[in-house]
């Protein structure tokens, strides 16, 4: 059976060239980067070379990159760290209704600890309204955290404009760019962001390594207390092989960015067109232009998403219902809810995300299977176009 992976937004395989670069750091070059002897010192050198590669991908300077264990940690650190840092200036944070749970649950933690959080909405295309953002700002606002690109519907926010608003009001600005990095041309200097979260496993690097960009001059309190690693800001023996893999993946992403965007966008558009042409009662969620290249979030009316997902899986096709980390939960997507999709249709929505190993043939096969399984599930379903919901 053909295997078609269409969940690159959940995680990506490590590219062979990335893995090859990592391998020696497990066995021969395994020194602790904090150790003074040669084996440690050269580990530290290589670690910083990787740091530079990650920095380059987002136009930062090397010393502004702090490695973390994942995008989630970067998000926790940015939000909770900023809140602690600025607590004497205020207790109000602004974020959006469509953030990843790493941001939302960090905000909830802060709400339980004396902070106030405004969750601004998005329009039906999944884009924040800058006026609503500016109206939400009070004299107590200390942080704006708005994601760069959404993990479910792929919509890209006006980060530069948000940065200008934040700067005008002298408020820290964090963006969760876990999905955007490697898929959008990013330059933190031009965007005016103070902090930016990344994660290697979304760009063909390994799982378990992420990074937080922290603008030079901003001294965020440590979220991990202990040794003097990461310029004393993030304790814990460094995930050396992981960092080297992240560095290589970042380098590849930087080099191939234009081509990647062009190729993936065109595949994605082809896929959407095919599905909409060949299957009735299917809709695309989220803005079609301000969107990650690989994302196709589709609502299939009259069927339930998990059933469809499993039917696809039985045919070798991997897709997801929104974000992987809430896949075991039955809560309907908060993102689709925020763009106004009625709950019954949220249940029938799937995210197809296309990546570097996807071929046109993969997509043709997927469309072919989709036609069949959508038809079958609709024939089982108790709701239909004729009978209504």
């Amino acid at each position: 059976m053909r295997r078609v992976y269409l969940d690159y937004s959940a995680t990506t395989p490590v590219k062979k060239i990335v893995l090859d670069e990592m391998i020696p750091y497990f066995t021969e070059k395994f020194g602790n980067p904090s150790s003074l002897y040669e084996l440690g010192a050269s580990a530290k050198t290589d670690l910083n070379i990787s740091r530079e590669k990650v920095a380059k991908l987002i136009g930062a300077s090397e010393r502004e990159i702090y490695f973390t264990s994942c995008g989630t940690e970067a998000d926790n650190w940015a939000v909770i760290g900023s809140a602690r840092l600025k607590k004497k200036y205020g207790n109000h944070i602004i974020t959006t209704k469509i953030e990843h749970h790493a941001i939302l649950h960090s905000c909830e933690y802060l709400e339980k600890n004396g902070y106030e959080v405004t969750y601004i909405g998005v329009d039906e295309k999944g884009i924040v309204n800058l006026k609503e953002l500016e109206d939400a700002i009070t004299s107590n606002t200390i942080l704006i955290s708005i994601m760069f690109a959404n993990n479910e519907i792929g919509t890209i926010q006006p980060i530069k404009e948000i940065g200008e608003i934040a700067k005008k009001h002298n408020i820290l600005f964090h963006t969760d760019a876990v999905q955007a990095v490697g898929n959008v041309d990013i330059n933190v200097k031009e965007l005016g962001v103070d902090m930016l979260s990344m994660s290697a496993h979304k760009i063909y690097g390994p799982k378990g390594i992420g990074a937080l960009y922290i603008r030079k001059g901003l001294i965020l309190p440590s979220y991990m207390n202990g040794g003097a690693q990461e310029n004393k800001r993030r304790a814990g023996t460094e995930n050396l092989a992981g960092i080297v893999g992240f560095g290589k993946a970042a380098e590849l992403a930087k080099e191939g960015l234009d081509e990647h965007i062009k190729k993936i966008t065109s595949l994605r558009n082809y896929f959407i067109k095919e599905v909409l042409d060949k299957i009735p009662n299917v809709y695309v969620n989220g803005d079609l232009e301000k969107r990650l290249p690989g994302n196709a979030n589709l609502t299939f009316e009259f069927i339930e998403g998990e059933a469809l997902l499993l039917y696809l899986d039985m045919n070798g096709i991997s897709v997801s219902t929104g974000s992987a980390c809430s896949s075991a939960s039955l809560v309907p997507s908060h993102v689709l809810d925020a763009i106004g999709i009625p709950v019954e249709k949220i249940h029938g929505s799937l995210r197809f995300s296309i990546g570097d190993f996807t071929t046109k043939e993969d997509l043709d096969y997927t469309v072919e299977v989709l036609i069949k399984v959508v038809d079958k599930l609709r024939s089982i379903s108790s709701v239909s176009n004729e009978k209504g919901w």
Binding site: F302, I303, E304, E306, A307, L310, Y311, D313, M314, A328, S329, L330, V331, P332, P342, V343, E344, H347, S379, I380, S381, S382, V383, W389
Partner: protein, 150 residues
């Protein structure tokens, strides 16, 4: 598929008794698309015996599998026997569902009861198994439904 056992997968991929019985003797619906699952069942009843049952379900794998296995279980049973079917019986017959999905098995026994209630209303019959059953009181949203686990 680590999520569901083989039997569940089989009933999900190749569900039995899918469809609608024309001129059914009793029709019942339970659940709602808003909660993510809705089952509609139609029964053919002769001499207080369920001679045929067909379903249509909007829902996840467990909902479809539960519908399939539950209809299998009641065909050939007396109406009282069918009313005695519990979601536990459905679960057992399926060989279990993931904890987070167990509530889906409720769908089938509730829908069956509704269909028998419809039959009883139309025919004026009474059944012990329907005592205290009120399809309107038993609002999906309240009892089983939209019990979402975060």
């Amino acid at each position: 598929m680590a999520m569901y056992n083989d039997k569940v997968m089989d009933h999900f991929m190749n569900p039995h008794n899918v469809g609608e019985i024309e001129n059914a003797d009793g029709i019942g619906t339970y659940g709602s698309p808003i909660c993510g699952d809705m089952m509609k069942i139609s029964l053919k009843i002769e001499d207080d015996k369920i001679v045929d049952a067909k379903f249509k379900t909007f829902g996840c794998g467990s909902a479809i599998a539960s519908s399939s296995v539950a209809t299998d279980m009641i065909i050939g049973k007396s109406v009282e026997e069918a009313l005695a079917l519990t979601n536990k019986d459905v679960l057992d017959e399926l060989g279990g569902l993931p904890a987070i999905k167990e509530h889906c098995s409720v769908l089938a026994d509730h829908a069956i009861r509704s269909a028998v209630y419809d039959y009883a209303q139309k025919t004026g019959k009474t059944y012990k198994g329907l005592e205290g059953f009120d399809p309107n009181e038993d609002e999906h949203e309240h009892e089983h439904g939209c019990q979402i686990e975060e």
